[in-house]
Symmetry: C2
Subunit: 195 residues, 2 copies
């Protein structure tokens, strides 16, 4: 069964974006090396070798993606093709009025997070479901639906912005992390311990 | 000249204590191994070998400690003997009315953080000054007086409590971290990059 993994770049003080929703500083590691990593949709990252190895493993195991309406709107729905080229489930209160890519692998889920997780897991099969939204990751944690956390920890203190871990209802124990040292980023993968 | 280093155990979501000021969960790694590390004051930790090595290096290089009045009061002034057995500078608005250890190496600094840092650096000589208070670490960062951050990152999400990094005025770039993988803790040492 597919694992649900929150996956984000985070500053040491816990932010995934600055107060203006900018992520440039936190995403620098995707372009600060000389090893090319191509996504299935044709995007190319140039990272350090350790980051490239980690990214390839993540992409090989990615089966679906859950995102929120905010990120979907901010990116204009990735023009109908997410860089990771996997089915995308958009959690939203209502479907967009004009979605110009009806054939793209996007599903608008209007009946809540648990439904989105269920649908995404079904599509992902044995692969992972990635969660690319702080609020959805938080709700998955609170609902006991999150299996792991991939934090790409960037050596900067932003001071303010959008927090990855916020509004959590309870203490959550994690496993020992898998640590990968990239250039200007420390990749940490934890699994959520079930009580 | 002495470096000023903030040194704390922190949950992955950025807390150094829970809402009731409890630190037990975050300090577990000081006692979850079988390698003994004795402090100069006779306290004994039992940690994993990597943590023990890191702790010994930190203690050998420790020349003075700056703390706030809150931690000083919470610990009853460590009974006049801090576990690290180095001179302690307590930043406070006024000296305690009854301090039963007048000969202990404690200095009450009533004229501000910058003064405490200056006095502690003088005493520390070539060794480090550790900052063991979130508010003082934050003020040191904002004043440009912090040289490094030692974060002992614990694999738990506390959800609420006392944040290590809060009330920061600006973006602070850090160096690549030195990473030490202990048992149920990942030690990360960053230096502050000067603009």
């Amino acid at each position: 069964m597919a694992d649900v993994i929150a996956n984000m770049s985070m500053s040491l003080d816990g932010f995934v974006a600055d107060p203006e929703d900018r992520v440039d500083r936190l995403f620098e590691w995707y372009g600060n090396g000389d090893v090319e990593v191509s996504t299935a949709a044709g995007a190319v990252f140039t990272t350090s070798e350790p980051s490239a190895k980690m990214l390839r493993a993540v992409m090989e195991n990615l089966g679906a993606l859950i995102t929120g309406r905010r990120l979907f709107d901010l990116t204009d729905g990735w023009g109908g093709m997410h860089p990771m080229a996997v089915p995308v489930f958009v959690v939203t209160h209502e479907e967009p009025a004009h979605w110009p890519h009806p054939d793209a692998p996007f599903t608008f889920v209007t009946d809540g997070i648990a439904s989105a997780v269920e649908q995404a897991k079904k599509v992902a099969g044995d692969k992972h479901v990635a969660v690319a939204s702080t609020t959805i990751a938080q709700q998955c944690l609170n609902l006991g639906l999150l299996d792991g956390v991939q934090v790409d920890l960037v050596p900067v203190l932003l001071g303010s912005g959008v927090r990855l871990f916020d509004h959590l209802d309870a203490v959550t124990e994690l496993t020992e992390p898998e640590v990968t040292e990239g250039t200007r980023v420390t990749h940490l993968f934890y699994r959520v311990k079930r009580a």
